[in-house]
Amino acid sequence: MKILVEDVQYIAKLAKLSFSEEQAKKMAMEFESILTHFESIDKFDLSDIHLDLYSEALQPVLRKDETAVFPDKEKLFQNVKSMSDTSIMVPKILE
């Protein structure tokens, strides 16, 4: 799968990151090699494999539906820049 520098820049934009042309070029190559590896995995014919059958061997990891209060609210919000009473205050952002 061919990955262009533009693809890398697009994904970077979605992730709110910015890269130099040099960095993007390097990443395009790395992305490509990773995706090529996936392509080779995709070549396996798994049409007769049913995931449901394998679930027997796996154990669910779950917690009970019980409540607990996190006590140290002050510490929890210590990195918040500004608060109005107990609400977090941010610059107005409309969808």
Binding site: K13, A15, L58, L62, T67, K73, S87, V90
Partner: protein
């Protein structure tokens, strides 16, 4: 040329759990902003989510009640987007392996039954709430709702009219309520709906450009939003200007009563889904599905059939009572106490619904308990008060919370059925109206009606009509002999 409307719905329902989906914070509505938060739901570094078992149980329950296939192996994915309602900058949701596939809901519109297919149900976490302050450049964030478990139910585009869409949502809400899957409080946002709507020539197989309507929080809004958008699209098709319909997301603004385009960037829908690396796949055992299926309470369709059969109510009466879980519970409690099924239905469909509407109350907040109403029904049956007075007493009970006996006493409403007291009144009236007595003797039977009126007047309406009538008849006979 005729056109048909094509509608599909996406319904978000908050699951009825005590704690959040991945942490132990409470899910209670109305707490002080950010009181129900912890490092996990705020997405602080170094924390790990653990799935709440009740979320899986309730999602399987929903899937069972809605005839879905349960994927015994399913998994969570990350849906990435940046918006301050999501502290992690991704929503933990399900992408290509949802917990339930397929399924259907049977609806009935104008006596016609129709099956609406479901595409899927998946589990995900809710986002926080933003309050945009008027005339101030800031927004306030409350993260209490972050991590409250949701199921998203997605239908196939099988709905063909606004009525069908509204009926579908009503039917679905009733199933989720009776199944105790979600409390479905639309006014609190625990049941929300997005609608996709498009138009096409009747008989056409393919789908045309659709418009997505978001932020719908009531049946009335769903109806209004869809009617508006249907009209707009129909007009454009009629005038051959369908190219003006763009694939877009519009937000329903209930204050303005119209849809407004959402200011989303063109690539904001590229969510870059990938498997959630912090959570193991969800495993569901066959025994679990069987036991959930067995624990499923009576569903609205069965209840409807039983109410009609067992209580002899009309279809319309049953529809209204079953349409609200709290009403149906109230009704059955009343009947169980001994009230006649028809009389119980009359109380609910008449005075109770009227007063709930007047006081803007939900049916789970009826201030008169079933046993208190049953006592009132008994007082009426015993002839202590008239039916008209009974309605007055009920209204007072509804407002003051006092018992029927106390109000009857206070208002002096009890009927005079005591024959000694009544006899005195009757004799008195007969003595003071000799002319009427003569008229009656001459065969003018309407004279008895006049005398009856005088007795009621003298007793200030409290004379028990039946007892009085009998007494008057016998006294008239006596005097004429």
């Amino acid at each position: 040329m005729s056109f048909e409307t094509v509608i599909g719905l996406e319904i978000h329902a908050e699951l009825h759990t005590r704690s959040k989906i991945f942490c132990s914070c409470a899910t209670t509505f109305g707490a002080k902003p950010n009181a129900n938060t912890c490092p996990i739901c705020l997405g602080l570094p170094g924390t790990l989510p653990v799935l709440n078992e009740e979320v899986v149980n309730l999602a399987v329950k929903a899937g069972t009640a809605l005839n879905c296939h349960i994927n015994k192996l399913n998994k969570m994915d990350r849906k990435n987007y940046f918006y301050p309602d999501l502290p992690k900058a991704y929503q933990t949701s399900q992408y290509d392996l949802p917990i339930c596939k397929g399924g259907h809901v049977d609806i009935e519109v104008d006596g016609m039954k129709k099956r609406i297919r479901l595409n899927r149900i998946h589990i995900e976490e809710d986002a926080g709430k933003l309050i945009h302050l008027e005339e101030q450049p800031v927004s306030l964030i409350d993260y209490n709702r972050v991590g409250v478990p949701l199921i998203e139910i997605v239908t196939e585009p099988d709905l063909r009219s606004v009525d069908e869409a509204v009926t579908f949502l009503r039917t679905l809400k009733a199933i989720l309520e009776y199944g105790e899957i979600s409390d479905c409080r639309m006014e609190q946002g625990s049941l929300r709906c997005d609608a996709n709507i498009s138009m096409r020539k009747t008989g056409q197989d393919t789908l045309n450009t659709k418009v997505e309507l978001k932020n719908i929080n009531s049946f009335k809004e769903l109806q209004k939003a869809l009617e508006k958008e249907e009209k707009r699209q129909r007009e454009l098709y009629t005038f051959g200007e369908e190219s003006k319909i763009k694939q877009e997301t519009r937000r329903w603004d209930s204050a303005k009563g119209k849809t407004v385009p959402m200011r989303t960037k063109e690539d904001a829908h590229d969510y870059r889904y990938f498997p959630e690396p912090d959570l193991v796949p969800i495993i569901i055992r066959e025994e679990q599905i069987v036991s959930i299926k067995e624990s499923l309470p009576e569903m609205p369709a069965q209840k409807k059939e039983r109410f009609a059969r067992q209580y002899g109510l009309t279809e319309k009466e049953v529809d209204i009572i079953i349409g609200d879980k709290a009403l149906s519970q109230y009704y059955e409690a009343l009947v169980l106490l001994g009230a006649a099924p028809k009389a119980a239905a009359n109380w609910i469909l008449g005075d109770i619904l009227r007063l709930l509407k007047e006081k803007e109350l939900e049916a789970d907040l009826i201030p008169v308990r079933p046993d208190a109403l049953y006592r009132l029904i008994q007082i009426i049956a015993e002839g202590k008060i008239s039916i008209t007075a009974g309605k007055e007493v009920f209204e007072a009970m509804f407002i003051t919370g006092k018992s029927a006996d106390a109000i009857v006493e206070e208002k002096g409403l009890s009927q005079i059925s005591d024959s000694v007291e009544l006899e005195k009144i009757v004799e008195g009236i007969l003595d003071s109206n000799p002319q009427s007595l003569k008229d009656y003797a001459a065969g003018k039977t309407q004279a008895a009606g006049f005398l009856m009126g005088q007795i009621m007047k003298a007793s200030r309406g409290k004379a028990n009509p039946q007892v009085t009538k009998e007494l008057l008849d016998s006294k008239l006979k006596e005097r004429l002999e």
